[in-house]
């Protein structure tokens, strides 16, 4: 996983709510068996509309997506995270996220930042006024900063630690292989197996 400490970049405002993962990456893109090339499918249907915000050249190179509430609802497809990352996003800011999407993001090093709805709005407005506005997302300090504004966000210590170290979850769990084996010995005898 890509480590995340602090990131400064420009942002793009996505003024839509309930941005489900079918919009982030439509199903036809999920047929790939590799982990790369998903940036082409990011918001594929919406990007056909020339007025869609990602087609606006003034936001070119943006690495922070600032969305309306309930971003990443719906399907569990991690391809949504891969598509956002491969397109160049490091952070998504929204007032609420779908639970599975948020989980998937933190596994991959895409930082989901929850801010109060009116702060998200304020940031969207600021970026619309100045698309080149520098926005800093500081995971160590748990802050989003732009143009003199400082807004705190919450993230649990454990997830923050994993992200800042770029740690692989499987490696961490395998350290507890003995606990897993001990648990397995005590499982209820009637539980089914697939064999």
């Amino acid at each position: 996983m890509e480590a995340f400490t602090t990131h400064t970049g420009t942002a793009v405002p996505l003024r839509r709510s309930n941005v489900d993962t079918d919009q982030i990456i439509p199903a036809v893109w999920l047929k790939q068996v590799s982990r790369t090339g998903f940036e082409k499918g990011l918001f594929a249907a919406w990007r056909e509309d020339p007025t869609f915000v990602l087609n606006d050249p003034s936001y070119e190179g943006a690495s922070i997506l600032v969305s309306g509430p309930d971003f990443g609802t719906g399907s569990s497809r991690e391809h949504a995270v891969w598509a956002l990352q491969q397109y160049g996003f490091r952070v998504v800011i929204a007032a609420r996220f779908g639970d599975i999407f948020r989980n998937n993001s933190t596994k991959m090093g895409l930082l989901p930042v929850v801010l109060p709805a009116e702060r998200v709005e304020a940031l969207q407005a600021a970026v619309e006024a100045d698309p080149k506005l520098e926005v800093t997302v500081d995971l160590g300090e748990r802050q989003v900063r732009w143009a003199g504004e400082v807004v705190a966000f919450e993230i649990d210590d454990y997830t923050r630690w994993r992200l800042t170290e770029g740690l692989d979850d499987i490696g961490l769990t395998l350290r507890h292989a003995d606990d897993v084996a001990a648990y397995e010995n005590g499982r209820q005898p009637w539980l089914p197996t697939t064999v």
């Binding site: 036809v28 249907a45 454990y158 897993v180």
Partner: protein
């Protein structure tokens, strides 16, 4: 040692969670043991790649089962799309390499992943079940904790049979009263989502409770739990009872003999204690419900069929207002149009929400002796459902009515296989998501129950069975 206070006053979700904690440490998520891992072709290839790269094995292939569902065509014959074909072949290769049981296309056990688990009796009360698929919540109908995960987590479960996770908060949805005749589990869950919103369940495990829930069949309970994710909840569950046990008894992987008795004794303890406290409680009166349909592009945008397309101006919340405006534009609908006047091009009965035998029976009951006036796809959720339906002669009813009787698969639930809507086409669909483009680019979806779907197939407009 367990203190007495800790034993008292626990919710069903807490009981099942605690039973599966492998390791707990201050400031860390719990390490949770996973009893059953379901796999399909779409969200697993990159996970198996990860294992190979790291030289890891699957820890418990005997707690893992795979099926092919999303990409499969529902007309007989091979997969013609080369990319879909590669994905399915990749699953076959991975299952063989890692020693995992697979039900491929054409196999008598093949079907949508959330339909086959319960049918085999692999889904049992008190279990933890995961799958790289958000509708894993379906399995909570048996009183376990079941939730969808992403591909990184799929890899984690393959390698360790565990997942690090924080215990979600608990929510009770108390459904009092009885569902009126003609009102189904699907209408209930659509009404719940309309009530609490697509974000209402975020961060919660929902337990569905109350008289109306107790009276549901297992099929109905699965329909309700299935769409927990559409309310934002990763998991939904219903305490096991006689209905659950009767469904399980005699299934291929259900316990037998003495083990059955032991299991039932334990399963009977899986209920929320009377003095347990939920983090949130929502009340719904089932007796006031009528058939529900969605008019918009998220599952929370639903209304009773007797109403009209809402005016975006009627939403006080600006976010809901602009979402409604956008939805009406996408759906090609005008505010004020009675929902019953909306004409559809296609009717789809199937999916992990409503592709079980009971769903097909209720659709057949309405189509018996009638003719469909619009393209109608009836897609059994699994080959076992298909066989049973054919034994009951339901397929003859569908064919006589002019509907298409298909092979098992996800079909028109999502645009990944040949069954899709064309741009601008409109469906009445028993699936779970009315997102933009979900059933094919530019397609417009109205979510409905199997009964409403069947009645709609007859008239070509959104219709309740009682209107026929």
């Amino acid at each position: 040692m367990i203190l007495k206070e800790e034993i008292m006053g626990r919710t069903l979700a807490e009981k099942v969670w605690e039973q599966h904690v492998v390791r707990r440490a201050e400031g860390e998520p719990d390490l949770l043991y996973i009893d059953l891992h379901l796999i399909h072709e779409v969200t697993s290839p990159q996970a198996f790649d990860g294992l190979r790269l790291a030289g890891r094995k699957v820890r418990r292939p005997d707690l893992t089962i795979a099926t092919e569902d999303h990409n499969v065509p529902t007309l007989l014959g091979p997969i013609s799309d080369p990319v879909s074909k590669t994905q399915v072949e990749t699953l076959r290769k991975n299952a063989a390499e890692f020693g995992i049981r697979l039900h491929p296309m054409g196999d008598a056990g093949q079907g949508v992943v959330h339909i086959i688990g319960p049918q085999f009796g692999l889904t049992q009360p008190g279990m933890t079940i995961v799958c790289g698929d958000s509708h894993t919540s379906t399995h909570g109908a048996f009183g376990g904790i079941a939730f969808g995960i992403g591909t990184s987590e799929v890899e984690h479960v393959l390698a360790t049979q565990t997942l690090p996770a924080y215990r979600p908060k608990t929510m009770a949805i108390e459904v009092s009263g009885e569902l009126p005749a003609g009102v189904t589990a699907k209408d209930l869950i659509l009404a719940i989502i309309a009530e609490i919103g697509t974000g209402g369940g975020q961060g919660y495990i929902v337990e569905y409770r109350g008289e109306a829930v107790r009276k549901l069949s297992m099929e109905g309970r699965m329909t309700v739990c299935n769409m927990s994710i559409e309310a934002g909840a990763r998991a939904g569950m219903i305490a096991p009872d006689e209905t659950t046990f009767a469904y399980l008894k005699g299934r291929p992987h259900a316990p037998e003999g003495e083990a059955w008795d032991q299991a039932v004794e334990y399963w009977t303890s899986l209920r929320t204690d009377d003095d347990a406290v939920f983090d949130k409680v929502v009340h719904i009166d089932a007796s006031t419900l009528t058939p529900y349909v969605t008019w918009g592009t998220n599952p929370g945008q639903g209304l009773p069929l007797g109403e009209s397309v809402p005016d975006p101006e009627s939403f006080a919340d600006p976010v809901a207002r602009s979402a409604a405006e956008r939805a009406l534009e996408y759906m090609g609908l005008r505010a004020g149009t009675p929902l019953r006047e909306i004409e559809v091009d296609t009717v789809f009965v199937g999916s992990c929400t409503n592709g079980r035998i009971e769903d097909l029976r209720s659709a057949a009951e309405i189509l018996r002796g009638r003719q469909v006036t619009t393209r109608t796809l009836i897609v059994p959720g699994s080959m076992m459902v298909k066989r049973q339906a054919e034994e009951e002669g339901l397929h003859e009813v569908f064919k006589a009515a002019g509907a298409e009787w298909r092979e098992a698969g996800c079909s028109m639930c999502l645009g990944m296989n040949p069954d899709t809507l064309k741009p601008g086409e409109r469906s009445a669909s028993t699936s779970n998501r009315n997102f933009e483009g979900r059933q094919g680019k530019g397609g417009r979806t109205h979510l409905v129950s199997p009964q409403v779907a069947a009645a709609t197939a007859v008239t070509g407009r959104l219709t309740a069975p009682a209107d026929l």
